[in-house]
Symmetry: C2
Subunit: 376 residues, 2 copies
């Protein structure tokens, strides 16, 4: 039985779903001759860790307790009765994680699995790579940090997977990696990478005012608590940077041209959420309406996309042909068109739900299974 | 430098393109620390093989001569001056290949790469698996043979890849394998897996008679020399069987319900190609036209698809909603909708060119690179 010891960083929605999938897939993975050994779980404040990471792991009962505590909003520090497990406090997390990485990285192999949304994990991931650890990320932050951090993380390309950083579990990174390794040069990627903005652009296309659509999306729970977090395009830009870097572009976040769907004078430090929704947004309706009319008169539609081409990455509204894959897209699905030598005139298209804890965690789990040949 | 020794079986269009890609990707793979060592190339009648497979390989000059001979229609037996390489004749191929597999399979690792269209390779692949070889297939025949052969070939699931057996290089098998390994149960696959039939169904939808479309497709080179090889649906059925078996369905070719687009009385043993094109096909126009009209009156369109669901696999014309991914498909692209727990109401969709030597060979090469962690 091949054993994959792992440390899970982050036990929010995705992390807990991952724990659930790991436990419920035990019979399936056992049939495949693989055993995932969760030796530790941490959030930003504390870590639960097996007392001897070589021989012990957090058993399924312990994992269940961790998930229960976290979904109740409790800290892992509240878990006192966990058998032989240690509970480590905030200051010690990184040091302890690095200790385990040093112990297991070069001997049995070790996977650092980052389902957090923090850039603090870089302090563990970066030395972990040097210690021979594998890295599996749902967290976009480490890959969108400085190019030096990026280079370090991907310095052992067979030891890193990060499918769920773009389009959740959609096989975007896996497919692009295959195309790249087969020597088929990708010269253009264009895609809708935000379900929220996809929904918004679809609805305004039907003739609804932008302000009404955004307010509706917020009340349906489709947006972040402050919809400007979606409308700024920064989340799409992070995904774009990850794709661009995968293609070998030497870019940083500041190099990406990002079109925000609201002007600087409506920024969070100037306007409250409430004020933005009630008084700010309606001022933007006319402009969006005009742009849609203009696009339509050219036989085109508007999509909020990420475009990666000619060493550049741009994020914003583009006018696209109605009958292209992106032009035919409706609703909240993510969709990527990938153009390469093999997919020259007609793109390779990948489409599907690009968000959700279940599919994000499934993507992380598939990544972990994908590196199994590196473990003994 | 990690070395992957391989034997290439089949040097038709795909095999030669693969050789081309292997050679032109040497700088890229070298940067990744991988070296593909082609120790032998065979067609159905002969094999060129390095005299000492441990230390030698067919160099790029030798590979170029092989490609040149084969594209000129010459036999590999005509290649006399190939330095230290041996040329082996038909009777000895399988024995020689198995000898090499036995030598390399358990020591350095060895990949049997099947780009042929023959079921004779099973005689090498099947013992090769027992000898610890990896298997990479573009050839559908071995995976659509008896379930016993299938079980043998996939008995070491980490050692087999066969992306290019379905949809050429489209990341269909890789994506499905990821979904399966993450424990996300796939309950339905429906897809257009024939570019030719996709084109035909698109064109008849525009109102052109079926006979005219098929004759046109033939003269454009879109069909097999005898278009009935496409219209029979048997090629789609093979792909369907491969997908169904990947999902764990215990099916054989005979279990697949296949709708042929021509009746038994127009079969090749009854009617010549010429007769079929001129006199047979027009008799089928009315029926297709009626079915399109009927579908259209339901707001639907007709697509020739493969449907895998509820332990069954069916191949034939289905009436599908106009605004579904398959309903919106035009032209010769392949398109698959995959439904699972994560992609429940809205499918995961993969679309793109599903044929062509370049993309098929690129898929094979990506597969070879994907198993690199099994080599030392």
């Amino acid at each position: 039985m091949k054993k994959i010891p792992l440390l899970l960083m982050g036990c929010g929605g995705v992390g807990r779903k991952l724990i659930h999938h790991i436990v419920s897939c035990r019979p399936l993975h056992s049939k495949q001759g693989v055993r995932l050994r969760v030796v530790g779980v941490c959030d930003s404040k504390s870590m639960v860790v097996a007392s001897d990471v070589f021989t012990e792991e957090l058993d399924d009962e312990c994992l269940a307790k961790i998930c229960k505590a976290k979904s109740n909003g409790s800290s892992l520090l509240s878990l006192s009765s966990l058998g032989a497990c240690q509970v480590v406090s905030s200051q010690e997390i990184a040091r302890k994680a690095i200790d385990i990485a040093a112990l297991l990285g070069k001997s049995t192999g070790f996977a650092l699995v980052d389902c957090s949304a923090s850039d603090e994990t870089i302090a563990v991931l970066s030395p972990g790579v040097d210690m021979g650890c594998c890295v599996v990320l749902a967290n976009k932050k480490p890959l969108t940090s400085s190019i030096e951090v990026y280079d370090k993380l991907v310095s052992q390309p067979r030891r890193i997977r990060h499918e769920s950083t773009v389009g959740a579990g959609l096989p975007v990174i896996a497919s692009l990696s295959r195309i790249i390794s087969s020597g088929d040069p990708v010269y253009r990627i264009i895609g809708c990478l935000s379900g929220t903005l996809g929904y918004v652009m679809s609805e305004v296309e039907k003739g609804k005012p932008f302000s009404q659509v955004v307010n509706g999306a917020k009340s349906l729970g489709y947006t972040e608590p402050d919809p400007r977090d979606d409308l700024s395009g920064m989340d799409v830009a992070r995904k774009g940077l990850i794709l661009a870097r995968l293609l070998g572009y030497r870019l940083d976040m500041v190099d990406i041209k990002v079109e925000s769907l609201y002007p600087p004078e409506m920024q969070p430090d100037v306007m409250s959420v409430e004020d933005f929704l009630v008084n700010g947004l309606p001022l933007l309706d006319k402009d969006i309406e005009d742009r849609i009319t203009k696009a339509s008169s050219n036989g085109n539609v508007l999509r909020y996309v990420c475009l990666i081409e000619n060493s550049r990455c741009e994020v914003g509204i583009q006018e696209l042909p109605k009958d292209s894959p992106l032009g035919r897209l409706r609703g909240s699905d993510n969709l990527l068109e990938i153009y390469s030598r093999c997919y020259k005139e007609k793109a390779l298209v990948i489409q599907g739900a690009g968000a959700g804890n279940d599919t994000t965690a499934a993507g992380v789990l598939a990544d972990i299974l994908d590196i199994q040949d590196l473990f003994s």
